[in-house]
């Protein structure tokens, strides 16, 4: 079992589009990935689970993967979380 702790970079945290992209990446990993914040852990391939953590910019989250290629999977997902996917700040229409 391999862990990694990352600080989330997206301006709006793991909400909306960045959350959907992250979940899609986690689902493609081929192994179960868990995402935890503040002691609560969810399935990283579940959009409802991920958004329910209420992850904001700058929050520390921990990724956990089992198995041989865990490091490769963690590298990819960690790189995703360290990128600001809301870099164009005015791209979203207010709901």
């Amino acid at each position: 079992m391999t862990h990694r702790t990352i600080e989330v970079a997206s301006t709006h945290g793991l909400h909306a589009r960045p959350a959907a992209l992250f979940v899609q990446a986690a689902a493609k990993a081929g192994r179960p990935v868990r995402l935890a914040k503040g002691g609560r852990e969810v399935d990283a391939a579940s959009i409802l689970g991920v958004v329910s953590l209420g992850v904001s910019r700058g929050d520390e989250v921990t990724l956990t993967v089992d198995g041989g290629d865990a490091d490769r999977i963690l590298d990819e997902l960690a790189a995703f979380l360290r990128t600001d996917h809301d870099a164009a700040p005015a791209a979203a229409e207010p709901a």
């Binding site: 301006t11 959009i47 209420g54 910019r57 709901a95």
Partner: protein, 553 residues
């Protein structure tokens, strides 16, 4: 004999067509124990969830931009492992797949609603997704917009975001909703896309499918059982209206050639392309709230400079009016506004918040000045919710100090309108926000359905205030623009021209029709119309008086 139902019309359009109904919402599934057994129910649930996700993904493929993103996210939710685990747990407890999806979806929606903010709004998505899955389980059509090759009038209880995102405007002539008010999702969409719509029509769902109806947004009426003469008259009116919106794209002007620039109201950078395409001669109101939305702290100066440059670069040589952050009341921001105020519309909002806080305004003005340095657009910056001359003076000094050449004020508060000559002496221009000016003049909360009838900018009390401000602007040689919903109403736009407005700013889809309407009136005609509206007893009488003066097409 025709029969008439009434509701709240959105816009001024008219349309005729046969009624098609949205399938009714599914009934609540029975909570009797399953007769199929848990394994069979789990398989049914899994199949229905996968099929719903596939369906949503296909719709995402056909939609564009943010609508596609919303549908992609909905597809993920439809086959979400957390939802599936919850549903399976309920099935293990004896529930049918239908009941488990109903309860599981509701539980997840409640969880999202509890998180508030952006995620709270996704709760409505989850209700919609749950009903789509249940439609698959029940083998009935998903509660979605019906397919049709011939134009029709869509009648629904109300529309979900997933439906409105995909409305095919080449076949939907009009929307009629049993529920909803002027600020409902359907109404906002109809206004954005320029769809003829009447919402809050009691009894609309009782109209038999296939019946021909006339939908008149101007009067808020839906007329059924119509004869041929009525159909022909309505079709003629619809095509005359369409012809007016076909006026070639050109700068806004009256019939005698008097120039009246038509500008765009923008809520985000996404709207730029549509504004340019509609022939907007600049931007009359750029709302900056979107930069701060969902944020727990204000965006950095650098991030703001990038956004403002994109805006300014889209309108080289044109006027671009940016409104500094208007927080409070209907636009609360967690890091700035106090949510415990009893009367937020009368509370610490707009410029009042910015003065109390300090750095947000300073950063914003600094970023705007920096963006303007390298841009060819004529940047003008205005403050929201100015009530006193001292506030106008304070804002102008602060803005000039930080490098803004053209500071101005919004006129939304009656006190500001009544002493507009004093305020205009302190700043370079004024822009009238008719929505708030109406709310404050009529003392009627614009978000409150029970007093919605007061929220009518045609009221002579509102128009007299507008007239005061325009007259003050003329005396002092200061431009006075209009940037509220009022400017998007073609006939009211004529009145505003007659009152002396120097520019009209509106959401881009409204520009074509306003341009066409202005071309029918000379400045003298418009002044006559304005006088008639000012002399009327109330909003309806003002509207009728102006309509009676309309020149022949």
């Amino acid at each position: 004999m025709s029969s008439v139902l009434t509701g709240v019309g959105i816009g001024r359009g008219i349309a005729v067509g046969p009624v098609l109904r949205m399938p009714s919402p599914l009934p609540e599934p029975s909570d009797a124990p399953s007769a199929r057994g848990a394994d069979a129910e789990k398989a049914r649930a899994a199949d229905a969830m996968a099929a719903t996700a596939t369906d949503l993904r296909q719709r995402a493929g056909r939609a564009a931009g943010s609508a596609a993103d919303v549908l992609e996210a909905q597809a993920l939710m439809a086959e979400d492992p957390t939802l599936k685990a919850d549903v399976d747990g309920r099935i293990d407890g004896g529930a049918t797949a239908d009941r488990a999806v109903f309860d599981g979806g509701a539980a997840m929606a409640e969880m999202l609603a509890g998180l508030g903010g952006y995620l709270g709004e996704r709760a409505a998505d989850l209700h919609d997704i749950s009903s789509r899955i249940r439609a698959h389980l029940a083998g009935v059509p998903a509660p979605a917009v019906p397919d049709s090759d011939v134009p029709f009038v869509l009648v629904a209880r109300d529309l979900a975001p997933a439906d409105t995102a995909l409305l095919d405007l080449s076949v939907v002539r009009a929307l009629v909703c049993e529920e909803g008010g002027p600020t409902s999702h359907t109404a906002i969409l109809a206004r954005e896309k320029g769809i003829v719509a009447v919402v809050g029509v009691r009894g609309a769902l009782g109209i038999v499918e296939g019946t021909s109806v006339v939908v008149d947004a101007a009067s808020g009426e839906v007329e059924s059982d119509i004869d041929e003469a009525r159909t022909a008259a309505a079709e003629r009116e619809a095509s005359e209206r369409a012809a007016r919106t076909q006026a070639p794209i050109a700068p806004g002007r009256l019939a005698d050639g008097t120039a009246l620039p038509l500008l765009a109201n923008l809520g985000s950078l996404d709207g730029i392309a549509a504004a340019v395409e509609a022939g907007a001669e600049g931007v009359g109101l750029f709302r900056t709230e979107v930069l701060f939305l969902d944020a727990t702290e204000a965006p950095t100066v650098d991030a703001q400079v990038t956004a403002y440059r994109t805006l300014l670069d889209a309108f080289p040589g044109r006027k671009v009016v940016v409104r500094v952050l208007d927080a409070g009341a209907d636009k609360p921001l967690s890091f700035l506004t106090d949510s415990t105020e009893e009367n937020p519309a009368l509370g610490l909002r707009g410029l009042r918040v910015l003065r109390a806080q300090g750095t947000v305004l300073e950063d914003q003005l600094t970023a705007l000045a920096r963006a303007a340095d390298t841009a060819e657009a004529d940047l003008q910056v205005m403050a929201p919710m100015v009530a006193t001359t001292e506030e106008a003076r304070w804002f102008a000094a602060r803005a000039r100090e930080l490098g803004i050449r053209t500071p101005g004020v919004m006129i939304e508060v009656p006190s500001a309108a009544l002493v507009a000559d004093r305020l205009l002496a302190e700043v370079e221009f004024a822009s009238i926000g008719t929505n708030d000016l109406t709310q404050y003049t009529m003392a009627a909360d614009r978000l409150l359905g029970s007093v919605a009838s007061y929220q009518d900018p045609w009221h002579p009390a509102v128009l007299r205030l507008v007239g005061e401000v325009c007259a003050a602007g003329q005396r002092l040689g200061r431009p006075v623009g209009i940037c509220g919903e009022a400017a998007a109403d073609p006939e009211l736009a004529v009145v505003l021209a007659g009152l002396g407005a120097t520019t009209l700013s509106m959401s881009p889809p409204a520009i074509a029709e306003v341009r066409g309407e202005l071309l029918r009136w000379t400045l003298e005609d418009a002044r006559t119309a304005a006088r008639a509206a000012l002399d009327a007893e109330d909003a309806d009488a003002a509207r009728a008086a102006v309509r009676a003066l309309t020149p022949d097409p």
